[in-house]
């Protein structure tokens, strides 16, 4: 079959790879219909998560049709239309039972790597390096879905393929940021990053009762999209002072909840960008936490900061003083998708949550390299490239 593979730093190519097989009783095989790029792939392809092999199939946000199920699968049948969570989970370990699904104990086939890096191993992800299980990704005609009963979800009739696609990863990630960030009725919520994840976090904050939601980015087309889709307020940090703008908007308090949806390759117009670039080139720092620093600095006293952006290692100039003295709660997580996906599909069906506008560039897999190029460079007003099979 054809699949889009990572072949080296910023080098993706369509290759012929063997069809996936059922390897476990609880596996199923999915014929992929739609699979989208994600900001996390960019961190992978730039080498920030250096546990890839040439020829690894990438992609983890997808939906499709079930074609084969193992004897241990009870919820799905061939022909079913399902959306698959980017995290593979067993559904029965202590973490899964406590709805902390991305921390599943039983799905990372290479636990040693992340145990050494982080102290313990999170669960496995599709197409996200050998540190996260070495599972093949979804930019392929077919994909094996382990623990299918817990990893995949039936799509209701009323939800079209494209809308359902974003219930796989960006939708639940954004929802988690607002939910576990503790958004309350009447809150002011600031979201750094107007990508799919940031936009979904902004919408979740509204639906959870936030009174004002402010989205921050430097790309006007992305900010405009968020304004149009959800009626949020925006700040373009390239021509405005984020701190001053937030203070003014919040009556001098700062946002109650700050959601960071940027990640380890954040950009900045200030001198700290150069500082972080030099340090990361010299390997003195692995990630650039520019938006995290800004969120912590600008959050109101006693407020909460949720880190959705992916980070892999150590950072410096972390504002621990602000965190401690302002009494902040700082939390982060890979997405606990299984906790939110059915609810998100219902909200999409009812029209409350719109997601299909995120797919700005729909193309066949053969144009995969171009899709990543557009997305990486934010060209042609690209929000997400989606591969249709």
């Amino acid at each position: 079959m054809k699949a889009l593979c990572g072949e080296g730093i910023n080098d993706v190519r369509v290759q012929d790879v063997p069809d996936p097989q059922l390897l476990n009783d609880q596996d199923m095989i999915l014929k992929v219909r739609l699979s989208t790029v994600c900001g996390s792939d960019l961190h992978l392809l730039t080498g920030h998560i250096p546990f890839m092999q040439a020829g690894d199939v990438i992609g983890h946000e997808f939906m499709g049709e079930v074609v084969e199920v193992g004897p241990g699968v009870t919820k799905h049948r061939p022909g079913d239309r399902v959306v698959v969570c980017s995290f593979i989970v067993c559904g029965r370990c202590w973490y899964c039972r406590n709805e902390l699904y991305s921390l599943c104990d039983n799905t990372n086939t290479n636990p040693a790597i992340t145990q050494h890096l982080w102290g313990s191993d999170p669960g496995g992800i599709f197409g996200y390096s050998h540190a996260m299980g070495g599972f093949r990704g979804s930019h392929a005609e077919y994909v094996r879905v382990p623990f299918a009963d817990h990893t995949a979800f039936q799509i209701p009739e009323a939800v079209d393929d494209m809308s359902a696609l974003f219930a796989s990863d960006s939708g639940p990630t954004g929802w988690m940021g607002a939910d576990l960030g503790g958004v309350q009725r009447g809150d002011v919520v600031a979201v750094w990053g107007a990508g799919a994840v940031g936009q979904m976090a902004a919408r979740a904050a509204q639906l959870l009762g936030a009174e004002r939601v402010i989205v921050i980015d430097r790309f006007d087309y992305r900010l405009r999209q968020a304004e149009l889709a959800f009626g949020v307020e925006t700040i373009n940090y390239a021509n405005d002072q984020v701190g001053d703008a937030l203070l003014e908007t919040t009556g001098g308090r700062g946002p109650d909840v700050c959601i960071e949806a940027v990640g380890c390759e954040a950009h900045s117009t200030g001198p700290q960008y150069v500082y972080d670039q030099v340090k990361s080139k010299l390997k003195l720092e692995m990630d650039r936490p520019i938006a995290v620093r800004e969120a912590i600095y600008n959050c109101r006293k006693g407020g909460s900061v949720f880190v959705l952006g992916v980070f892999t290692g150590v950072v410096d100039m972390f504002p621990l003083g602000a965190l401690m003295n302002k009494g902040l709660t700082v939390r982060g997580a890979q997405q606990h998708g299984q906790r939110y996906i059915p609810m998100l599909l219902d909200r999409i069906a009812s029209g409350e949550l719109v997601t299909d506008h995120l797919a700005t560039h729909v193309m066949p897999l053969s144009e995969g390299a171009r899709g990543y190029e557009l997305f990486k460079k934010k060209e042609d007003d690209c929000l997400r490239s989606v591969f249709r099979f």
Binding site: P50, A54, R136
Partner: protein
Amino acid sequence: MNTAGKAAVTAGVVAAYAVVRRRRAAAVQPSDRWPVVTVSRAPEEVRASLPEDLAHLHGQVEFQVRPATGDKGTELVAKASGDVPRHELRLAPRRMKAVLEAGEVVRPDVAPTHPGPMGKALQLVTSRAGGGGRL
């Protein structure tokens, strides 16, 4: 590949080698801490499935079962009484936990056909990573 990219990949492989090195260096000493996992099942259920799941280690490893704190289930400790490689000692309880909790041990997907030199180095690590690590 640009310089930053090469540096990143090299850092990854160095980290990966560190995983292997640590594993090799870790000969089982009497004073070593034993690997232990927590199984989200009751102690009786864990005890009941011990003999069949771990028959191949009979006589070489002593398994101890004790209740975990709170609602966490059961702690399963693996102590070597014979000459068991550390890798085996770690792998056995982890696999048993997966079977008890999830019904099976998830198998990795087939590796790429042309992993490249860095990928080959990584394969060296991942071929053992199921039994490596801190647990």
